[in-house]
């Protein structure tokens, strides 16, 4: 139970970072937040600045993404992002159609998608690890 609470908090924190970027005026004051946590990359003093500190852990081979984990991760997205993800990635609609439905330009959609997919990737990756930890 404690672990799940800790996870909820890290999830929220991760999402908070992604939000930080969504308001243009914030960037007047603060450096823009990144899609992937900036801590995951080496900083200027390290051997390879801007490269992964630790590679993303590979997922089990030959196993598709579990739809249950993906569904749960999708449900945790903010409504507006989920809407874009569902229209574009689940239903596979073209960008122009989604533009009329949401009022977001194709460019803005890509920005939402990039961040949303990263959150989903993180969540699904965690679910994989949980499973391998259990078995």
């Amino acid at each position: 139970m404690k672990i799940s609470i800790a996870r909820m908090i890290t999830n929220l924190a991760a999402r908070g970072r992604a939000f930080g970027n969504r308001f243009a005026w914030w960037s007047l004051w603060f450096p823009p937040a990144t899609t992937v946590d900036a801590d995951r990359f080496q900083s200027d003093g390290d051997a390879y600045p801007d490269h992964w500190k630790e590679f993303p852990r590979p997922w089990p081979v030959g196993q598709g993404v579990e739809s249950e984990a993906l569904r749960a991760a999708l449900a945790a997205l903010p409504d507006r992002w989920r809407r874009v993800v569902i229209l574009r990635d689940v239903e596979g609609r073209p960008a122009a159609q989604v533009s009329t439905a949401t009022g977001l330009s194709a460019e803005q959609q890509r920005d939402v998608l990039n961040r949303a997919r990263e959150l989903l990737r993180e969540d699904v990756g965690r679910a994989f690890e949980q499973h391998s930890g259990r078995s």
């Binding site: 969504r22 603060f30 990144t34 900036a38 598709g64 993404v65 009022g103 460019e107 803005q108």
Partner: protein, 490 residues
């Protein structure tokens, strides 16, 4: 399903429930209606009441901004809890007082409560709404609802406090308040605080304070909204503070004061509920609101009819409640989350700073020329508020939130071009563009070149593609996923 998964999709309504619970209980300050009575019993006279007001007025503005900064840096829930503790301590000391000195101390501790809770609550609501829905659209609706809960609690405590004092004692109402406020702490403890203000990088306290003040002073947009919030606050404070003077002037029967006060306080809640139904970006509505305020303010100087006076005051308070909530949204729209409570409290301080000379002048004019003449000051203030409102709404271009700022991506492209090289940190920003084939040919070449030599990024891209494939499969699954409609954000 594991517990973690089941607990995660939280709706806005459920999330704000404990906050409303806390606000309701915190509003049940039972001793408010009988405070003046109790004060005279323990030896206050007109001069010491004035001294107490001065002590109180000194504490609140001094603490407002520091408490807001505390809320931004530390935790908003805990600042609200700290406010509750101050209220409990103040009620206890007040209830135990047998002389003026201890009661003044209680009043100053009450000032801590006010400073800590003002500005913090609306910031916390704004951030929760943005965090849950990804947009600010529902802020007015929710802050309205919470203000309604708060004012219902005020009305209830105004009625219950009087009754309680009648059957027990005045002193007892102070002690009866303590357990209620203690319960409010539980509500705030259970509230899942938004993390939005923690999203930005930590900065030193000094630069945080500097940023808060710089934002309030240097940005013209923020300054303009700040003035609007402060003058609207000043005016509604003036109506509540001086409104009863008109009733005194027309020698209204004492029995009327209770219902009159309840009606006035309930406008805060009614206004909060109304604003969800109104679209203040519509010019006509804005014009009606301003004209209504002006007409009611002016009628306070003309009429001697008690019914008209009370109606005018209630309508004016209602219009001001609506304007105040809208103004607070404009303010929150204009500042980043990390300094939200600080700036919001700055508006509170400015209200006090403006209110002090205003009330002194109002009192002087009322004494020299009668309250009717000083009523023109209210009309004058309405003109100022109306002008500021029009200027601000026009400048905000009808509060449209900027949807998505692709700043991180733009920065990634810039860095990649400057260094003539694409590193992992920049690559991850461009994945969606790569998959949509929206990259320039040279950027695409660089992207693929990097991929060929980097296992980490290959894994990253493969996993992202797996996610997209998984999402595509969901559409074929038995329980199909439906796209939420824009209105279904609740």
């Amino acid at each position: 399903m594991t517990a973690a998964v089941a607990a995660r999709p939280r709706t806005l309504t459920r999330r704000l429930l404990p906050l409303q619970f806390g606000v309701a209980l915190q509003g049940l300050i039972l001793w408010v209606p009988i405070e003046k009575l109790f004060m005279t019993e323990i030896g206050f006279d007109a001069a010491s009441v004035g001294a107490m007001a001065a002590a109180y007025a000194a504490v609140v503005p001094l603490l407002e901004v520091p408490s807001g900064i505390l809320a931004d840096r530390w935790s908003r829930s805990w600042t609200l809890i700290f406010a509750c503790v101050a209220l409990v301590v103040s009620s206890l000391i007040g209830g135990l007082s047998h002389n003026v000195i201890t009661y003044v101390i209680a009043a100053m501790i009450l000032g801590i409560y006010f400073a800590c809770s003002s500005g913090t609550l609306d910031s916390v609501v704004y951030d929760t709404v943005v965090e849950e829905t990804g947009s600010n659209e529902l802020y007015e609706k929710w802050i309205g609802r919470i203000r309604a809960v708060e004012s219902a609690a005020f009305v209830l405590s105004a009625l219950a406090g009087g009754v309680l004092a009648q059957y027990t004692s005045e002193r007892f109402t102070y002690f009866a308040t303590v357990p209620l406020v203690g319960l409010a702490i539980i509500g705030f403890l259970r509230f899942n605080e938004p993390r939005l203000h923690k999203a930005a990088e930590r900065v030193s306290l000094r630069s945080h304070i500097a940023l808060t003040f710089r934002t309030m002073i240097a940005s013209r947009i923020v300054l303009r909204v700040l003035l609007l919030v402060a003058t609207a606050g000043l005016l509604s404070q003036a109506v509540f503070e001086f409104g009863p003077l008109w009733l005194v002037a027309v020698a209204a029967p004492a029995v009327l004061y209770g219902p009159y006060w309840a009606a006035l306080v309930s406008t805060l809640g009614v206004g909060g509920l109304l604003i969800a139904k109104l679209n203040l970006e519509r010019r006509l509505l804005l014009a009606i609101l301003i004209i209504l305020s002006l007409a009611t303010a002016l009628s306070l100087s003309w009429t001697r009819s008690l019914a008209v006076l009370v109606t005018a005051q209630v309508l004016l308070a209602l219009a001001l409640a609506i304007i105040g909530i809208h103004a607070s949204r404009l303010l929150h729209d204009a500042v980043p989350s990390a300094i939200r409570a600080g700036v919001s409290s700055g508006a509170g301080t400015l209200t006090w700073v403006l209110f002090l000379p205003f009330s002194l002048m109002f009192g002087w004019v009322a004494r020299e020329n009668g309250v009717y003449r000083s009523g023109f000051m209210l009309a004058g203030a309405v003109v100022v508020v109306g002008t500021l409102l029009i200027v601000n709404v026009r400048a905000s271009g009808g509060v449209a939130p900027v949807e998505v700022a692709a700043t991180a991506k733009e920065e990634a492209v810039e860095v990649a071009e400057a260094k003539q090289e694409l590193a992992c940190k920049q690559l991850v920003e461009l994945v969606a563009d790569y998959l949509d084939e929206a990259l320039t040919p040279e950027m695409r070449a660089r992207f693929e070149e990097h991929l060929a030599g980097c296992d980490g990024c290959s894994t990253y891209l493969r996993q992202t593609q797996q996610i997209i494939a998984g999402l595509r499969d969901l559409s074929a699954a038995p329980e199909k996923v439906e796209a939420p409609q824009p209105e279904s954000t609740e």
